[in-house]
C-alpha cells in the first residue's frame, strides 16, 4: 500500500462520481436477474467500489463495522459470494482481495452475467490494479487449453508489474 488511500471518498479506477452510477446499474441488473441486492450487499459493493485498490475481506469488514457494528466474517463473505456470483466484483487471487468489475456497468455486457474473460494488471509499487478484457489473451489461453485436452472454465490471469506512473516516476 503506497499511494493515495483516501478514506471513503477516494477516486476509483473509473470516474469520480462513478460509484453511485455503478450501484444503480447493479440494482437494475439484480432486478433483471431476479436476485436481491439487499442493503447489506449494496453496502459491501459500495465499499469495494469506493476503494481504488482491491480490499481484503477483513479490510471490508472493518469498514462495514462502522455502519453495522454487529458485522462478522460471515457477514462480509456471504455478501462477497453473492457479488461474485452476480459478476459485480472479482477476486484478485494474488492479493486475497476484491475489486469491482469494470464491465458490470456497461450496458452492452449485461447479457453476460458472471465470469466474463478478464485479466488484472497489478502494480507492485503503488498497488494500482487494472482490469482488462483482452480477447487475444483469452483466445490464446483457450487454444492452449484445448490443445492440452482441457475443457475451459474460469481463468485467473494476474500480472504483477509496474504501472506507467511508477515506471516513470
Amino acid at each position: 500500500m503506497a499511494a493515495g488511500q483516501g478514506g471513503a471518498e477516494g477516486m476509483p479506477h473509473g470516474a469520480p462520481g462513478g460509484v453511485e452510477q455503478a450501484l444503480h446499474a447493479a440494482e437494475a441488473r439484480c432486478l433483471r436477474a431476479g436476485v436481491q441486492l439487499t442493503p447489506l450487499r449494496r453496502q459491501v459493493l459500495e465499499l469495494v467500489l469506493e476503494a481504488e485498490q482491491p480490499l481484503g475481506a477483513y479490510a471490508l469488514l472493518d469498514r462495514l463495522k462502522a455502519q453495522r457494528p454487529g458485522a462478522a466474517p460471515p457477514t462480509v463473505y456471504r455478501a462477497l459470494d453473492f457479488l461474485l456470483e452476480q459478476g459485480l466484483i472479482h477476486k484478485v487471487e494474488r492479493l486475497n482481495a476484491f475489486i469491482g468489475c469494470v464491465e458490470a456497468g456497461h450496458a452492452h455486457h449485461e447479457g453476460h452475467g458472471h465470469d466474463h474473460a478478464h485479466q488484472f494488471l497489478i502494480c507492485r509499487q503503488c498497488g494500482l490494479t487494472v482490469e482488462l478484457s483482452d480477447h487475444a489473451v483469452a483466445h490464446a489461453l483457450d487454444d492452449a487449453a484445448r490443445r492440452a485436452g482441457f475443457r475451459i472454465g474460469n481463468a485467473t490471469v494476474e500480472v504483477e508489474g509496474l504501472c506507467a506512473g511508477c515506471a516513470a516516476g
Copy 2:
C-alpha cells in the same frame, strides 16, 4: 481433492521414476547457482514432486513430520520460499498449493533460473494440474500489459476446467 491421492509413491505428472532424476537436476542447479539444497529443502522438494497434485503447505508439513517430528509451519514455508526462488516449484494461487516446475529438469532451460512464463490448467473434478509454457499466451499477455502502460513482471495464469479424462468419463 477428488481423485487418486496415493500416499508417498504416487505417479507424478512426468515420469514414474522421474522424481529422483528431478532431485539430482535440482542439486546440480543449486550447486551452479551457489545456493544450498540442504537435506530439509531436498525433502520438501521430494514431497512436492512425489505428489501428482499440488499440495498445500500444511499437507506438506504433515508428511514432513513423519521424517522430521519437530517440523513447524516456518520449517516448510522457508523451504518453499527457497524452492520458489530457485524456480524449482510454483505456487498455484487458486489452490494455495505448490507443485514442481516441469521445466526445472530441462537442461535447455537451466539458464532461466526462476520465473519462466507458465500457465496452469486445473481440473475441477480430479484436481489434475498441468503446467504449460505457452508462448502465445505469454506474448498476448505481454502485449496487453504493454498497451496499458505496464512494465511486466511475473504472471499468474490459472485456468479451471475439465481435463480430457474427466470430460470423457
